[in-house]
Amino acid sequence: MPRLVAISVALSSAALGFLLLVVAASILARILYDSSGGAIDLLIPGAIEAASYALLVLIFAALPLAAGEGLIRVEFLTARFPLALRQYLDRLWLILAGCVGGLMAWNFAWETLTALQRGDATQDMQIPLFLFHGFITITSAAFALAAVLRAVTRHHRAESS
């Protein structure tokens, strides 16, 4: 579990760094290009698409992490519930979250195969789409695993969100 979360943080942070770089670099390239009258051409034609897919990686890479720290709950009546009931409910929600992750992984696994077979690619940079679908398959499965592991192993103190 801690290793899964560490990988998740590292990958997602890297994608965030990349996103920041792409957006900043494309602004800089544009300013250079315009102020030099086109002489300095460092423009990145696919910058917008690169940023979009960086966001995709950022979000899905963070999913296993989100299974622990990213599930926003609303604490309203439950503070008055008996502890056992709260724990039971928390386990139930985590297992259902795991099911959703599993279903996503299942969907994207098929989509990965289809995209691979058909050779689908992104519009601008022509990056094969199966790479992204495959990535989502893995991270969704990891999210499902993280959620189910939490449901099974979580310690006997009901957490507050």
Partner: protein
């Protein structure tokens, strides 16, 4: 059952799940897909788990969210929050309750670089709460002013809430950010007023009066000045016609990083800013994905459509529609997570607002004010929880008592903003952004 009935039932189940501590995103996904399955069919519902998340997470406009979050987190890690507080404290030195006034002032400053209320409350809470306790401030005044000050994070631009509203309604991000400036400053002024009035009634809450500091003012202001530079870059670039909104977010985050590096940002702190950003982004995107899937159900159930019909049938006047919506928001906001509320309700209410002839940008401001209110209204106010997590020894009861005057003034502000749209629309119209 008719699709509309299924839609209403799903909303009921959604609320029930949320009350039972189901994670908000999961609740939206389960009820959204379940209701969609009931109306359209199981197989299409299962495929929602694919297209929904993919389209949301690869939407270029949404890159603004992590970029603005990163900007705020870097600003916190590099100590801009501390510098803001130090400068505000020096400015207010000698007044009764100077630390509480300084907390709200520094929160307003921090809001200019942070798009999140929770981050603003948490950051300023960490900086200012220990200081106020050391000076003998009462728990209720200290926690109240910080929880309220935190809400400025989503009214003073940049703002994730205004951003989401703009994206849902396809309004200009720039116009909404500008529209938030005056209402944000109004909130700031009213919060100061609340503190001053509160101390007239309960002078003991301010503890020992703080001696006037003789520390020179200018170096303190200089330390905090990058905030002005960052705000000017983002807003100036946006309105000067240099940046698109995403570029403004990227430029703001990059410049904050450069400022942080110049001030000796540690690797550890940089990693922490990245981590905080991706955790918050993932949490937020889970909710956005949930809202997207729930949105499919809202569409096929034609709930908004039905409500527009209903209003026509009842012959409700526009102001009556507005009051109904605002009362709903205020009540709902007591229990619901703030951004989830925007994501869930705006698609339902927006057609009613247009149908009633209201200005969409102005309604965005009004809706976000109600969200701000929701952040500090008991029993479920996220900013209250944040303050408590920063200072676990303060009793929840004290926090709730401390926040009440601010809730009152926010209700007043909501009424003012609803009655006078010009307060929101004057600036964007003046600068030609709207």
């Amino acid at each position: 059952m008719s699709p509309e009935a299924i839609g209403f039932l799903a909303i009921g189940i959604l609320l029930l799940l949320i009350v039972l501590r189901c994670p908000v995103a999961l609740a939206m996904i389960l009820t959204g897909a379940g209701g969609f399955a009931a109306i359209v069919g199981w197989q299409p519902a299962v495929s929602l788990f694919m297209t929904g998340p993919f389209e949301v997470a690869s939407n270029y406009s949404f890159t603004m969210i992590p970029l603005f979050l990163l900007m705020g987190n870097l600003a916190a890690q590099t100590g801009l929050s501390k510098d803001l507080f130090a400068a505000a404290r020096r400015l207010m030195g000698g007044w009764r309750g100077s630390l509480a006034l300084a907390s709200v002032t520094a929160s307003a400053g921090f809001a200019a670089v942070s798009g999140s209320s929770l981050a603003t409350a948490a950051t300023m809470g960490r900086v200012a709460l220990p200081e106020m306790k050391r000076q003998g401030y009462s728990n209720r005044l200290a926690s109240g002013s910080l929880a309220a000050g935190g809400t400025l994070g989503i009214m003073i631009p940049p703002s994730i809430a205004l951003l989401l509203y703009a994206l849902i309604t396809e309004q200009s991000v720039g116009a909404l950010f500008l529209a938030g400036v005056l209402p944000g400053l109004l909130a700031f002024a009213l919060y100061l007023l609340v503190i001053v009035l509160h101390l007239k009634l309960h002078p003991e809450d301010a503890g020992r009066p703080e001696a006037l500091q003789d520390e020179p003012l200018w170096p303190l202001l200089w330390r905090a000045s990058p905030v002005a530079l960052l705000f000017a870059t983002v807003m100036g670039g946006l309105y000067g016609g240099i940046f698109t909104p995403t570029e403004a977010a990227g430029a703001g985050a990059m410049l904050t990083l450069l400022v942080a590096l110049a001030r000796g940002l540690k690797r550890q702190a940089f990693a922490q800013a990245l981590r905080d950003t991706v955790v918050t982004s993932a949490a937020l995107f889970l909710i956005i994905i949930g809202a997207e899937i729930f949105g499919f159900l809202l569409s096929v159930s034609q709930l908004s459509f039905g409500m527009v019909e209903l209003i026509r049938e009842w012959g409700l006047a526009p102001w009556q529609v507005l009051i109904v919506i605002l009362v709903f928001y205020v009540i709902f906001g007591c229990f619901m997570d703030s951004l989830a509320m925007i994501l869930l309700t705006v698609p339902i209410f927006y057609p009613l607002i247009l149908e009633s002839g209201f200005d969409p940008v102005w309604f965005g401001i009004v809706a976000v004010v109600t969200v701000e209110l929701g952040l500090i209204t008991p029993p479920v106010g996220m900013n209250l929880f944040v303050i408590r997590s920063v200072a676990p020894d303060i009793a929840m009861q004290d926090i709730m008592r401390g926040i009440l005057p601010f809730v009152g003034i926010d209700l007043l502000r909501l009424a003012i903003l609803a009655a006078f749209p010009a307060i929101s629309l004057w600036l964007p119209k003046l600068l030609g952004a709207y």
